[in-house]
Symmetry: D4
Subunit: 252 residues, 8 copies
């Protein structure tokens, strides 16, 4: 019910003042549950198109399971939890038997309601084999949200013909996620070769003057090719979420 | 002509070996002109959907005009030049009378061939009045590339009701560009309120521990809301180009 | 009128649905004016206890005057504008004759409604004479907001007896603002000598490994004395605003 | 006895020169004990309103216990020790049976003299569940010093309605401590919504371009909302001490 | 076969269109194998003079062995794998019995085809004994690629006569690799004493304001002596590869 | 008069309580003058062996002259003012005719009381001609304080024999000040060649990855030679003051 | 004369002890001139293959001319002076009429003795037109030292076919200097395409998160392609000197 | 024998050419031993007044023992080894039974020849108990080199009276070493209170915006008190060596 409808019913005597206040509250104050250690946002999917996601780092396993169970209790949303260690999953699986785990991506997921599938392909490129954990985090996240995800791994610029030989795969994609550590040059090269939006993910792969991924991050932000948006270092999840928002909302 | 067609014609005797070599060259080696001080990329629009753009900083006005005239000489592309001072435009206008200038955006443009218009709205938000030069760079760039661009300025989080009162404008957009200096919190707040992809532009507005925009940049990269891609500090141009690539290619 | 009262009047037929919607809007959506280049927040004083303040850096003088006139138009709030050059003030004074200017603080103010005075003293200390511009920005800001402000300048730790000789002035204060550049040690020393809350302002005074105030900023954040809150480098305004919020709200 | 009184008694022959020297010493040189590895400050509570606090990191358990016992030996002050591991507490508890431990906060406390309670509420907000250890350090510290402390956890800006729904809790507080990692936007949002002084605590929660809490720290220092003072990354203790100094001294 | 020859044969009917397409592919698209987790570049040696090298950090042992076996399968190249832990080698040795390991250098190598030896000496200097692991990485890499490598260890500037006494060794070298941590002054000193190109490798040896090798890195980049090229911190491998490219290609 | 003597006189009736309080004040609270914008420390020379020095950056010329005149008014100390532009000196010279100026060092000095000369030589080395302004700041400062100062300029490590040929000059010095920009290697080289304490001054000479002197600063802090103390970038004054404290106090 | 020969002559009575001492001095202590403000190194060419080069930044024009005249006075070396403003050259030209100036490179040169020419080509690539000043500094420096220098400008990765179309030019070079600002990806791409040693020069072209060239610098240091040595930001001179040392010494 | 004497003997036939060459070598090339992994500098004590010191981090225990035995073999110097873990000492003690170990300082020492004692006191202050490991490194180092070392621990500025009460101890010292973490303010305070040279040692004690000691380092470099020289973070050894060079050489 919108505010005007509520008021109309009050004017018509069809709604008491007390009930109307509660209804107004529902309009202006979307629902959440206060667990003490967490305030679970039950309106996030309606508002942003994706449920709240649990970032496991820094949380106790008890807190993680508590939030998951609360999210599932209303039956309206699926659960995704990132940066989850295998030991965390072991405990989660006892409490929530249909939870699944991708070890490569370090992601726990519970799918209770099938997510509608999108047909616009999301392509995930990574520069080297060492970048695969980040790439898999992106893969699992985008797949969970219903995307048609494709992968092309280890095509960094030290052997650029590996990419040039497969330019058609780039143009078939609706969005391209480019994941690279070290100097992160792959994002610029891809950006210069395609008409597709590029989401660049710097990784912390490397050492020394890499400074934990800073080198690739700065390189990607300064890309001489345009049409490149950057997410945090090692943030495969965030890149996938941006891709999801692009393919699921724009194409409508 | 594709490689297989060329070969077929050679086999059929319809194409000489010499001509075939030139044709193959055109397939594998897209055209460019070497001006000595510049190698103008005439294939960029075909490849990436947007012509080469001239970044004026660090170039002489003579070089800028030279590149513009070369680009226009083939009659296939328009010209956009960013970070152009008013004095540069004065000289450009003498050489190219139909060049136009946006002082707020510091952009010179020459439009010889009308760009097809997109109907998916691109919304440009900025946190404060001081961010307007960056916002205008984004506006002029997206408009030049055929987007339906809308603006909502000075809606930073210090007075968050200015944004909450107009959430409908957010959802009407296909893509939202969020421009903010200081602590850059607006990107996270918008990201948490909408299902639309967000392109965040940190600006150098601020002082002290702002470190030339670093504060907003790091904040945007670490956004707790997902679906946010970040471009370089003060890079209104880059944000617009990513928006263009999203709305013009995805919606097809 | 609160929401419940509005609803009651609607139920009683004393308010039409249309008028009620407008009233609800006023409750949930505080007022602002959209000038295109600025969205002036007319609810800020009611909400935060202090009117919106104009940060002049990066704004045209026309924009500054426009915002000032809009703020004054409703007759409910005074105007404070920081980081204003003398040339800006010259133009402002033509448009708004009762505007005043502190050159040392680079602040323009317009006081149309007398601010209630607080009796809890705010003490502003600075380490060296070179820190005075920042100290004066704090002084003018706190004075504008009705504080009883006191000053003690050039009492840095290289001659610590200058401070030790006047400890009584410290204890008389309700809040102490400590402003220091170079190594910023004064904040820790004051923090260790008093029971009063300390607001520390690092300044950019210094050179070399000072890195524009970073040295003092880090020192103040790492103070071994407790009860020290830090604001941005050279942010005399922000320190004063925190002091204002403390003395005007807590002491009630 | 003040210096003038001492002198008067000497002049009156009521005090010998030797005794007078000792008395003067007491005036100008407050008491401390030299344990070799520590110089325990027995005057800190009288001077700053709070006893010396033991920072356990980098100290041996023997040193920690030694300082605690010395502090307690004079019977005039309670003991608070931060950053204490559970193993440290185990040994402390053997030596000082009435010591208590908060595992969440990593704080050991010994309360021998009841601290007077303050009635001005201190509100502790945190953005996410992962920030709770820092929030609890603040909670235990403020509670130890007699504050009426309240908590609201996991109300970050990704789901801003969780905060907007409870604005009344903000205004009831005398001081608000805002704890957030990642981009730290919560401090600005709260600062823009309330008239209360805000103490912002950046946390190291996050990864990559978070750089151990630097992102949130810079964001908070550059807050576009005013009235925000910042403490060190993860410094829940320091934030609480500033809150204590505000509510216990200003409200008098 | 070059493109013109292919075309000629097509024109002569000696080559079918289908076969010709495959031949063209071979010209423009050098060979690689897609293992899913890796795209092995079989053209790198032909193109750059050195085979692809496996950077083991961040890869599973299974991936490392898989890439090695693929590389060896064509019988055209040797294998070098850097940053390999002893445990990795243990597994590799089971799968590839002729693999060898340098523990000091943390390098695994498999030599199936003898590398031609170069007679131009490469000299490896290091400043201190703690720099030896990096120096050995350089030694093994250069030796593997056929260089005549010489070593002079622990000749840092704190005892500069150790170097001055052996200047003849410097001039006998074709290229000098200088490895130093702490302040990295050795690169400048060597650069000022010799006519030979110097490749400088900063190491992470040191602590505090060394910042993981940043001090030496910046020093080497700012060398007041000319003729010094710098590689990444601790990158003995990279320094050796540059030396290899210099001595094996220039001297021809 | 010491405290015990004051008390004795009070006891003997030879001193009134009022006078005694003033005398005690003189013992515990050394003299200073409060000029509003400055609190001039008249006890600094007695306490630290050197008068207060005026750092001109950030001060108005009126403030500089005011502090100078106050310092000279008591007739007990000379005046040194650093970082003074030529225009500042022009005004100072009108007010204080015996003021002198070193343009190379940017120092104003007024010597009213001859400083006792020290015979322990202070040697000032600099790496390049561009470092001379910093070197002269050190020279003038040390000379003003009575040192026997010697200079050896442009002896950087790119031509190390320039230094090796004159090692005797090093050993004749009591203290050596080493001034260098770029990579700052000279400090380590000198530290390894001499038994004398070395005071290292990084300069901002250089560009790019020099980062305003950071490269030399880090290098000097990480010197592999021991016996090196470092001062701030470009701080010739500070280096000289440390040398003064060494030669004037230790040699007694 | 070597030391053994000197001794032999002394033993043979063919050389006096005094003369022998001078001869020994010449062996162990190469010649220099002390001008007070400069210690001109007359042995540098003999020792390092290249004369001392004057870095003009931070030097007075008088000092620059003085050093030039001293260098020329012995008739054994040419003069190169970098970072020279046009006004400096105007004064130099009055004193030294055969001095020449490259405005693009900001280099003054005086060639009195023809430098032997090398036939090994040095190729200078730059990514964009804005990088040309750095590229020209490299060009003039390498040309002055006798290299066969070639140029290919504006071939950055945003239009990578501009480079791929001319790979033959890369392989013809003995050494490749790659100059790029922004994200500096060109160095990695070139490194992956060639067997030639690559000298990478990051430039300060760009803005925001470029941080004055830091982005390109870190990218180049972290290149995933091997055989890349890096010099300081904007250091075209240094890159050329390393190329000179490679082609003039190795090829012998 | 000096060079002139050698020559004279050669001229007199009292020395053969071969022997003379060896003698010259001894003059110009001080002795060292090449162990392969180390080049032990046997001339360092003669040259710098202190033997080579072994920095154990990054060295194998075998290397450490090898260097120690080589140093002791000539019977002319004692041995000091810093940053040595207890397990390293266990092995050293087996090989060199008279080696001693300070666990607090992590230093191994072997004293075979008694060091002459200096009577000029070196005072070591530290700000907190957590700084003691660094302070003890300084203590053991200075004591090993013959200094009269005194200690005053835990006198940080949070309780500044602990220092003010003992100013006499400061003035009795010839040199003061000030060790502090967190904000490092103690160095400035001490520098402002004394005429003695101050050697400041920042420590890594602290967290968050301390950045591993950076906060204290920058503070100390920017000290507003003069006469302060700074060494690397946690470098108690280096501070002591500078103190040793001051008291043992200046006081002569």
């Amino acid at each position: 019910m919108e505010a005007s409808e509520i008021l109309r019913r009050v004017a018509a005597g069809a709604l008491s003042v007390g009930d109307a206040e509660a209804e107004l509250n529902a309009v202006y104050a979307p629902p959440f549950d206060d667990l003490g250690y967490a305030t679970v946002d039950h309106a996030r999917k309606a508002r942003t198109g994706a449920s709240e996601v649990i970032y496991c780092a820094g949380k106790t396993t008890g807190q993680i399971i508590g939030v998951m169970q609360n999210m599932l209790s209303r039956g309206t949303q699926n659960v995704l939890a990132t940066r989850a260690a295998a030991e965390v999953f072991a405990e989660v699986a006892s409490a929530i038997p249909d939870a699944r785990y991708s070890e490569a991506a370090r992601i726990i997921s519970v799918e209770r309601r099938p997510e509608p599938r999108s047909s616009a392909p999301v392509l995930i490129l990574c520069a080297g084999t060492s970048d695969i954990p980040v790439a898999e985090e992106a893969f699992v996240t985008a797949d969970f949200h219903g995307c048609d995800v494709r992968r092309l791994y280890d095509v960094g610029v030290a052997g650029i013909h590996r990419l040039l030989a497969r330019l058609d795969i780039l143009e078939e994609a609706a969005v391209i996620v480019v994941i690279a550590g070290m100097e992160g040059a792959l994002a610029s090269v891809v950006g210069g070769l395609t008409s597709r939006p590029v989401i660049a993910v710097p990784t912390s792969i490397g050492y020394g003057a890499n400074f934990g991924g800073l080198a690739a991050l700065l390189a990607m932000l300064n890309s001489c090719a345009s049409g490149v948006g950057v997410v945090n270092i090692d943030n495969g999840f965030g890149a996938a979420m941006l891709a999801v928002k692009i393919v699921k909302n724009i194409g409508k």
